[in-house]
Structures are given as C-alpha cells and as structure tokens.
Symmetry: C2
Subunit: 184 residues, 2 copies
C-alpha cells in the first residue's frame, strides 16, 4: 500500500504529469520505491477517482496530451494519516542471499564473478548517492527541517549501499581466500 503514498509525496513536492513522475521515480523517490510508468498511470487513475488528486484543467483534453496532477486536501490527509500509522518492517526478500544459500547446496561455480558484478553495481550506486549528497545537501542546506529529513533518507541509501559493498567484499574474500569453485 505504499505506491499511492509515494505518488502523493512526489506530487506535493511538485505537481507533475504521469511521465514527469515516472522520470522522478527513476531518479530520487524511486531509489527507495521504484515504479514503472504503467503502475504510475494506473495509480494516478485510482487516486483521481478516490478524490485524492485532480488533473489540472488542460486546454486540449485528449490522448497523448500532457496531464498535470495536483494533490487535493483529502490526499494530503490520507498521506498524513499514513505517516502517522504504525507499520512493521517487512521481512527481507533478497535473491542474492538466497542464491548464495542455494549455491551452498548445488555448487558455487561462477558465483564469485556474480558477486564481483554486484559489487561493481553497488559501488556505482554508492558513488552516485555521494554525489547527490554533495550537490543537494551541502552543509549550509542542512538547517531547514525538511532538508535535514530528506538528507537522512539519503543517508539511509548510502549506508545501505555501504553495507552491500562491505558484505560483498567479505564474501569475495571468503571465495578467493579458500579459492577454487567447488562443485557439490
């Protein structure tokens, strides 16, 4: 039940069209809650029907025309309520950890390469986050409440990627140390 709330947040930060939202999801918000343009359009439709958002009056209301949405009071109320609600963390669902466990059963051939590949990906992401931190949150921008909170969210992303790079390094040391892909 988080996608509609992610959209409401994004629209409160700045009213947008479906495609603009999609792009913003690919950049900032999507780092913590990704979504395809399909999901977004479908959800925009539902949110509009529910009276949480509305399309800004457009000159030519037809297909293939940009449609901007803004949040209505009911939408803001729903979002506020969601933030206040208690919600337990969901258990981890991570395919790589699972695959490593499977590898313990069926053999680890080629798995070190996959770990290296993931390590490279996470390092890239980590660098990107750090760039964002430098650009969007220089020390003087860390006084306003809202900025400090957004910075905290980004810190979460950074620390998460740090966790992955650290764990993958540890795992590779294990693989390279003892060496040799072992077949079951």
């Amino acid at each position: 039940m988080s996608l509609p709330h992610a959209i409401l947040t994004a629209l409160l930060e700045k009213p947008s069209s479906g495609l603009e939202l999609t792009r913003r999801f690919d950049r900032s918000i999507g780092y913590f809650w990704s979504a395809t343009h399909q999901q977004i359009y479908r959800e925009l439709g539902k949110l509009e029907q529910a009276g949480h958002i509305r399309a800004l009056p457009a000159p030519v209301p037809s297909r293939g025309q940009k449609k901007e949405y803004e949040v209505l009071p009911a939408g803001r109320a729903e979002l506020t309520d969601w933030v206040r609600r208690a919600e337990d963390p969901k258990p981890i669902r991570d395919a790589l950890l699972l695959r490593l466990r499977a590898a313990a059963v069926v053999g680890t051939e080629g798995f070190a390469d996959e770990l290296r590949r993931h390590l490279a990906l996470h390092r890239t992401q980590l660098d990107e986050y750090r760039d964002m931190e430098d650009r969007q949150f220089p020390p003087e921008r860390r006084t306003a409440e809202a900025d400090r909170l957004r910075h905290l969210v980004l810190r979460g992303g950074i620390e998460l990627e740090r966790f992955w790079t650290a764990w993958l390094t540890e795992a590779l040391a294990e693989f390279d140390g003892r060496d040799g892909p072992t077949n079951c």
Copy 2:
C-alpha cells in the same frame, strides 16, 4: 521468480511436506525470502506439474494427509542453472524511508515513536541472528564449504540489521537533538 528456487533449495536440504516447509520458511530460509503457506502449496503444485519435484508415495493419499516432496534431477538442474544465471539486484523498496520522506512534507508528529519501535524490532532480530550464529556456526563448524557459505548468508542478515539499528539511532539523534515534533 525466486520462490520456486527457495523451495527447491529447502527441499534439497531436507525433503518435507508443505507445512514443514512453511515452518522452515518462518525460521531460516524465510529470513531472506518469506512466504505464506498459501504461496508454498501453490508453488509445490506447480513444481510437481513441471516435473521438478515429486510427492513421495504415501499410504493414504487423501486430503488432510501429510505429503512429503523430494527434488527430482530436473529440479536440481533448474536450481543449478538459476544460481549460475546473472541477475541484477532489485532496487530497494522500503516503506520506512519513504514515510520519512513523506514526513518531510506533511510533518513529523509521532514519527520518532515509530522510529523507536522499529529500532526495538531490529535490535530483537539482530540478537536472534547472533544467537543463531553462536548455535549453528561455532568456530569449529566453519571449515566445510557449505557451512561457510551458509554462515556468510547469516552474516549478511546480521550486517543488514546492524545497518538498520545504526541508521535508526542516527535518525533518532536527529529527531531528539533538535527536538519537538514539527507540524508542517
């Protein structure tokens, strides 16, 4: 596409019935890939149809009777293939980070309590993992390849929970430091 592979792994580690699998998912494997008994039964059906597993011959094949499954060669082959396949890490989907970002827009009232609640939950999970580590992987059990890999998986869980407790502590310091729930 990971649940069937999680089940194959579990069944290779030990042939089981649906309910036994469900319980094992609640304990070990489910820490990295959770599933309800519904998903498991449905997936067992599909795996059987696909010829990846088979039900061990039971004396009384009727409803309400335990049915044990074992992995067939085709199932093992499929699992091996999955472990070897390259698969990119999925983007994070975390509701708490998202909610914090929403809180930056609609106000943080009561959010510190929610952070404290999550911190407590993650600390509990961390302790549980550490107990598991002590019990299942004492130093002398860390020589066999398969054990070392399973230990590595558990280390992943531990470091992840460590990340959360650290980040939540940081976040709470931010909240308590400046103090006072601020309404938008």
